[in-house]
Amino acid sequence: MTTSATITLPTGQTLKIPTGLFIDNKFVPAAKGGTFDTINPSTEEVICCVAEATAEDIDLAVSSSRRAFTTTWGQNVLGTERARLINKLADLMERDQQMLAELEAYDNGKPVRIARDGDIADSIACLRYYAGWADKLTGQTISSTGPTKFNFTREEPIGVCGQIIPWNYPIMMWAWKTGPALATGCTVVMKPSELTPLTALKLCELVQEAGFPAGVLNCVPGLGPVGGAALASHPDVNKIAFTGSTETGRKIMEASAKSNLKKVSLELGGKSPSLVFESADLEKAAAWALMGATYNSGQDCTCGSRVYVQSSVYDKFLSIMKVKVEEYHIGDGFDSKSSAGPLISKAQFDKVNAYIQSGIDEGATPFIYSPKTERRGYFVEPVVFSDVKSDMKIVQEEIFGPVLSVGRFETEAEAIALANDSKYGLGAAVYSSDGGQCIRVSSSIAAGTVWINQYGLLSNQAPFGGYKMSGIGRELGSYALAEYTAVKSVLWNVGDEPYWPL
């Protein structure tokens, strides 16, 4: 099989893209020669096929990354050089921003302008943020132990890191993972989602162009249960970072436990609650809440899929939402009017529609609802359920589509209880003009990110991650660096005699 393909984008432009595995700065076929198709979710048509990595390829990729870690990367490269290379990569992404946005839209379905001005702009900034950290990783000197000891810590890179990223924000998830890993001196074996491998591979061309030594970043697309599993259980991988479903997250952690107890960080699912208090600006809260539920077609781990509104303003809130939802247009990613694109695949399409049906079956009111239409592409119009009860599937389980459940509450305490009634704890929001209430409530919700009077917007400088079953560890901010560093204590005797005989 060849390791590249020439595709024609919906703009009419042709683009040559790599389709091999990226190992040692070269694109190569899979050891077993296998391939898998990647689909355009707007048309349900095959775009092209990509090499499929199996365990043998994972072995090769890990060996290559290990070699790089012990020779050209890790403690063999200066922080300032890592900074230079990561900044160069950011510059190249900026140069190719439009092309990458179109490729992302083609493979994932999201609108080109959102990919370009949202996902990719944030990704470039994320890389630059971590480039800035690369020469600023300091340990401690610890003087409190007395003059005969010189004690200090060093923050060293963990080693070879396996990174498994999802299909909902392919480029951005790639940047969130590679930024801190490369900045700290780790090498990476990246497995992009089998649903959206194309931009990950295109980015590898930029990695090579930027001048990273071979093996610093290897990219091995493949199926989760094959390539992903092999990476999670590999004996020479020091750390695995996974973003995806909670169910798969369990498997990753189990694989680590059964293999070499590699460090694990997980960004998993959520069922993030928003609380709208009566003092909130309802127009704004409704807009934010709609965005929270429908951004990226609801395919977001922090999808604001549960909204609880204080009784006194419940009806008003819903009526505002009904008006605002008319401004939301799903469509093809290359249509500039699209607010969001299709769901990623047939499987997700069926799953989300099944949840919508279960909501109806379990007695929730389909307050905003359009029935499925016969159209090409995995498009789902937003659905808002009202009169929901806590035990309904649509209220408890992560749907990963543009489906919102709106419930009511009387008191602040009840709101907090409803918010926390979930096995998840990823995001949450509070809408209130009472500052004290904002602080009290945000302190009481078990969630890794709490938004106040807004939804969903993240900063590269602020950490992100889950409480409870939404995950382990933090991405973004300075906190992400800890996921990729190992702390070594060095205890140097400068004056004590041996403790002998005891």
Binding site: G79, T80, A83, N87, A125, R128, Y129, A131, G132, W133, A134, D135, K136, T138, P147, F150, G435, G436, I439, R440, S443, N460, Q461, S478, W492, V494, G495
Partner: protein, 501 residues
């Protein structure tokens, strides 16, 4: 009158190209004449001849610069430009310095007299590295949230101070510019900076790069002038809440007094030194000789951290001194543009005469002159690399900062003796320890009263590692994360959640 311009065509082996520098006062992104129309002559210390004239700033220009800096802070900088954007601009400036490295190095050499090898290989390279380093900090200035009790939410914010004043010296003009502007701009401050009137040219060239990089007008303002006029105006200014000064201890005192007498603006000072370089019997003598020579004669001895007191343990004293004198005799003095030159001229006639005065004092005090001891040549401000031995501890050459190529070698017996001798100084900027027993070197290093201690090396600085003085060598730290606190105010916010009176 129209603003002044310096134009020159360089033709050296390293670089054939032109430089064009507007030499006015740089305020609000534009060059202009000084308020009183005066000019200052900039002299080439290699020849003693005029390079060009620059506009002379006065108190009125400082006032105008402060207004511009405050306006920029309130409207386009400070919290108005997020750290991420400030960082990008600083990195762009670093790139522009690198793109114009040869030109900047040649200008630095003609203006300051340091060798082209050093200005190109060290000053320009390090200045760009410092801007890059602080570019990386700009969006990472974080306060803390602090758990106290359930009825309050308490946190700190590390805010920029506002418009700040900076006064930089002539020994590393471009590098000192980066040490000040890097952290000041990264943390969101706007700046009014006075370069030395002896070496203003690279700072003025960088003003055009600042515009080219895209910094909003008024964020950086450069006012040429004398210490007693422009420098004093900055230190006394009622609307600058901070002054950062690098220079002599004598002037540092007047800066601090001026701050105290005006608005109690925050002060950080990088002042002089008389740094001890300590060489134990078990040192690698060959290496110690080379490092000791570099430690003092680098930049013609014009380093605040110069290792000007070289203490050698008695067991190797004679051997070291002989090798050291032989090595120093090989250091070539001459035209800084020549590849074979190690040491160019001192920066000015005043400095040259001052150094020669110290040399005379050393001779009169009875120290043994081993190398040099006189001026070099008849043109320009050259001084021979000079080595004294066995000067008395309380003599001028051993206790006062000479700031020239004059090394004093003395002996010591043991660790207790040398700790005493090394620390017996009003200064405490740097020190070095040479010994193959690193454990011993570490324990000696931890007993020296100095802000930087080198072990088995000298004059090794990095943008990531802080630098600054103990005692009369100053206070505050430059470089590293530590420099950020020089340009930030910490605000604590206590939010009452539900307590009532």
């Amino acid at each position: 009158m129209s603003t002044l311009v310096y134009e020159h065509e360089f033709k050296t082996k390293a670089f054939s190209g032109k430089t064009r520098i507007e030499t006015g006062i740089f305020i609000d992104g534009k060059f202009s004449a000084g308020a009183d129309g005066g000019t200052i002559d900039v002299i080439n210390p290699t020849t003693g001849k005029l390079i060009t004239k620059i506009a002379e700033g006065t108190r009125k220009d400082v006032d105008r610069a402060v207004v511009a800096a405050q306006k920029a802070y309130d409207t386009v900088w400070g919290t108005k430009t997020p750290g991420y954007e400030r960082g990008k601009l600083l990195i762009r400036l670093a790139e522009l310095i690198e793109e114009n490295a040869d030109e900047l190095a040649h200008v630095e050499t003609i203006d300051n007299g340091k060798t082209l090898r050093d200005s190109r290989g060290f000053d320009v390279v390090q200045a760009a590295a410092v801007f890059r380093y602080y570019g990386g900090w700009a969006d990472k200035v974080e306060g803390k949230t602090i758990e106290v009790n359930p009825s309050k939410f308490a946190y700190t914010v590390h805010e920029p101070i506002g418009a700040v004043g900076c006064i930089i010296p002539w020994n590393f003009p471009l590098l000192m510019l980066s040490w000040k502007l890097g952290p000041a701009l990264a943390t969101g401050n706007t700046v009014v900076l006075k370069p030395s009137e002896l070496t203003p040219l690279t700072a003025l060239r960088v003003c055009s790069l600042i515009n080219e990089a895209g910094f909003p007008p008024g964020v950086v303002n450069i006012v040429n002038g004398y210490g007693t006029t422009v420098g004093a105006a900055i230190a006394e200014h009622p609307h600058l809440e901070k002054v950062a000064f690098t220079g002599s201890t004598l002037v540092g005192r007047s800066i601090m007094k001026a701050a105290a007498n005006s608005n109690l603006k925050k002060v950080t000072l990088e002042l002089g030194g008389k740094s001890p370089n300590i060489i134990f019997n078990d040192a690698d003598i060959g290496q110690a000789v080379k490092w000791a020579a570099f430690g003092l004669f680098f930049n013609h001895g014009q380093c605040c951290c110069a290792g000007s007191r070289i203490y050698v343990q008695s067991g190797i004293y004679d051997e070291f001194t002989k090798q050291f004198a032989d090595h120093v005799k090989t250091l070539q003095v001459g035209d800084p543009f020549e590849e074979s030159t190690y040491q160019g001229p001192q920066v000015s006639q005043t400095q040259q005469e001052r150094i020669l005065g110290y040399i005379e004092a050393g001779k009169k005090d009875g120290a043994t002159l081993l190398v040099g001891g006189d001026r070099h040549g008849t043109e320009g401000y050259f001084v021979q690399p000079t080595v004294f031995a066995d000067a008395k501890a309380d003599s001028k050459v051993m206790s006062e900062e000479i700031f020239g190529p004059v090394a004093c070698v003395s002996r010591f017996e043991d660790e207790e003796d040398i700790i005493h001798q090394a620390n017996d100084s009003m200064y405490g900027l740097a020190a070095a320890v040479f010994s193959k027993d690193v454990t011993r070197a570490i324990s000696v290093a931890h007993r020296l009263k100095a802000g930087t201690v080198w072990v088995n090396c000298y004059n090794q600085l990095n943008p990531q590692v802080p630098f600054g003085g103990y005692k009369a060598s100053g206070f505050g730290r430059e470089l590293g994360e530590y420099a950020l606190s020089n340009f930030t105010n910490v605000k604590a916010v206590h939010i009452n959640l539900h307590g009532t009176m």
